[in-house]
Each structure stands twice: as structure tokens, then as C-alpha cells.
Amino acid sequence: MSIARFWRETPRRYNLGGSRCGNCGTVYFPPRLVCPKCPQHRSTIEKMAPFQLSGEGEVLSFTVVHDPAEGFEMQVPYVLALVRTVEGPVLTGQIVDLEPKDVAIGLRVKATFRKLREEGKAGVIHYGYKFTPATEPGSARSPRGPAEPVRANDVPARDKAPA
């Protein structure tokens, strides 16, 4: 994957930047240019506003992956889940910091900023969201970028801060 292709999605993958329809209020992640729910969906083209998810949610379903996607070979077995966020959108991501046997449907989780995969030894390192157990309801904070700036050769500096 080219550097530009990953870099252009960093506001979404690092900071959960979605969009919200100014017409009906439905929240989308990743952001959409038109609202699929509004009957006059063409009229929503100019009304989709940026909206940042909190990262809190619960597990709808999950799998323990043994035959990994490319770049995830070092992480097997890993838990991949669909997480319904409190704002509505469902995200696909790993559940980490928990043994696979302890993951269950309905588990409350919060998004966290982690390394996703590396493209070989010399390629781009992909960062983004994964999910960890929420210690107590409502305690989950929205994920931020790392405290230290991401190394310049990982991603361009433009998208360190959320929009």
C-alpha cells in the first residue's frame, strides 16, 4: 500500500473521525458524503458534518483468527470483532489486552491507538484503532494519537491532531 493511501485515512484511523448527517442526525464511520438513511439522500450532500466517535462500545460478535491477513502473521491467534459504538456505527477491529477465551458477545470495550501491521522490514507501519476491555461503563476515553510524535518516516506529520 502506498504511503499516501494510508496517510490520507489517518484522521479516521487515528482519531475515529466520522461524520454526522445534519438532516437526521445519524452518525457514520467511516465518514460518508451522503446520508443513506434520508429519503432525499441527495439533499444531504452538503450537510454531512465531521463527527468524532468516543471509541466506547460493545462486542456484537467476534472470531479468533489463526490464519491471518497479510501483515498480521506475528499476532496470531488474534481476536477480530465487530464493535457497536455508543454513537451507532459498527467498527471492525481487534480486541487486545485480553485472552481470547475471555472475549464474549456483549463485552464492553473502548478504542485504543495501536500498531496494526508493518509492510515488511522497510515498508510503512500502519497504526490505527484496536479495542481493549472498558474497565467500567463510561470510563472509556476517546483515543488520541501517541504522546510522542509519530516518526516522520511512518506517516506525514499533517494528521497528528484530530480535525
Binding site: F72, P77, L80
Partner: protein, 389 residues
Amino acid sequence: MRDVAVLGVGQTKFGELWDRSFREIGIEAGLQALVDAKLSSGDLGGLFLGNMASGSLIDQEHIAPLILDYAGLAGRHLPSVRVEGGGASGALAFHQGYLAVASGLYDYVVVGGAEKLTDVPDATAAQITSSAADHEWEVVFGATLPALWAIMARRHMHLYGTTREQLAAVAVQAHAMAAKNPNAHYRNRLTLEQVLDAGPVAEPLGLFDCAPLSDGAAAVVLGPLETAREHTDTPIKIAASQVACDTLALQHREDLTSLPSTAIAGQRAFARARRAPADVQVAELHDAYTVSALLALEDLGFVEKGASGPAFASGRFGPGGSPTVNPSGGLKAQGQPFGAVGVAQVAELVRQLRGEAKERQVAGATLGLAQNVGGTGATSVVTLLERVN
């Protein structure tokens, strides 16, 4: 719109065809279909070719004229069009061929489907085929096709009590059927224990819950029903060919235990044909994973929502069942050459409806259904074929 019939079918063996090239298998299936249809190539109006990923798999795009060329037809300058829809590429191509003949623009067309998956290592082929899922929002986060289907399977187990054993019954039946299919990738029988004990791929799915990555090609010849008897004693009418699409990513669906694209395409097909699920004697369903077949049975109305697991395990969809599911062995055991799957399903239904399926013949079959799925259900194609007397 005029009625369209399937006049001829052809198919290569499915499997690891290391000694054969993409163009060889594509042409073999196409020529078989032309011979079966007793059609002179001079009568052909065009060719539609289903293929998912030749560019990634064999570094060759622009394959529709390639196949036309090696079929000896480049000099006729016929239109030859590739159609892509993930694992549903074959049935999508079939749909385009159907439209072309139904419209009256062409009288006779060949619809082919071909995929060469073993020219790259297994892991590479798995990665390439996972591009039928949403790369940016699923695959980048660690998703594979089996992982996404496993997520659906676990949700179905959670909501309806479906068991691993019930899922495994799909694989056991598929292998028992394929044992009678000389074209099948796998002709060995499997026991329930073997399926349950196989290594995990994406829990709850194990290795034998997943269809293999196969090479293979299939082809059919379509033409107007009104002149079909010039070519065959048993014309098979296309009673319906319906396509429905949905979100590319599974995460955007309301219900993780249903494929709305399959349900809608099925409803449209039954409405178009003025038939009901109970009228179908034989069905070729897209069992890329064991859970896929169970969801299809529910979405197409063959069994109530949530009830597919116990129903399948009871043998209700086995030989003599209503309907008999996947007499070919399905994707699970006949094999899964992505772009060829949907065309091979049609070819099997035609053999069944003609009464030419030999050992695996479904007795008295007059109406058959095929369901072909791309990715996790962003595209579904449902076809109804009917024997006319």
C-alpha cells in the same frame, strides 16, 4: 424481453491444475459448451466472462479478448466482456449474457467463468480473494473472508443456538455429494469428527468449514427459448436471473445473521418466475463456508430464520431432500475457483434438470435454484432454471 434458454454446458475439472494455464481451462469449458449446444461459432453474438482477480493472480488483465482469441474467434471481432463481482463474478456474467439475449441484441452468447488460484502461494491467493471485502475498513484491521464469515457464524450460534456440529454437517454432506462428481476438487468423504477436529482457521470455523482455493472454468451457451429445440431436446429455461447488492463491508449491516442481498434477489427471482421455495427440487448454494449455506437456506425461504442448523443436521437437504442442496458438492467439495463458481452452479442445475447427472441425479427435478455470493454478501445473484416440456 424474450425468454432465454441454456442450450449447452461445459466445465473443466476443479482443483490444483498445475499443468494447465488460465487460457487453456477457459477455452476447454467454452468449447465443450458450444459442442453441447450444437452451435456453430458463426452464430455467436458475443462472450461474457466472469473472473474476479486475474490481474493479481496471474498478472493478466484484459482477459475477455484473450479467451476470445484462443477460442479462435478473434477474427470475427465479436464483443467479449469481462464481468467482476468478487465470488459472484460468474453469475453476474451469466446475468449479463441473459440480458443480452433477452433484449434481442444478440441471439446466442457464451457465458464463461474462469479463475486460476494456484499460480500463487495459498496465503497470497487468500489475501487476494479477501479483497472482495472492504480493504480500507476491514482487511487493514486484520479481517479475512473466513474471519468475517466466522463473525456471522458466532452471531448465529449466539442468537439461535446453532452448534459446531450443525455447521460441520454442511461439510460432511458436501463431500459425500462430491464423491459422485468426477469434476470435483475433493472426492473423499469426511466424517463429522474430522470436520470438528480440523485445525482452526477463524473460530468457530475450522479448515474443513472452508471451501478450497481451486483452479477451474465453466461455460454455458444461451439463446432464445423459441429456437432452443434446434439445439437440444431438453431446453432449460431461465425462469429468473436476479442481482441484488448491499454494503461492501459487513460492519454496515443491521443483521449479522442474514444476507439481505440474497434474500432480496431470491424474492425478486421467485416473483419473476411466479414460483415459491417449495417448488424447488435442487439448489446450488454458495457454501464458501459451512455457515454460508445455512444463512442461504434461511434467506431464500427454504427454512425459518434461525432453524437452518437443526434442519440441515437432520438431513432435510440431503439426497431426496426438499430441496436437495449442492449435489455437485458445492464450493466446499467441488471446489471454489472464484469467477467460475456461478457458471458451474448453472451447469450443474442444467445437468440435473436434463436428467444427465448420473449417480448424483436428483430424481424428477424440474426447477432449480442457484445462489452465488460476492464477499460477505455485497453482491448476490439468484437464478431459477426450469425444465420445459
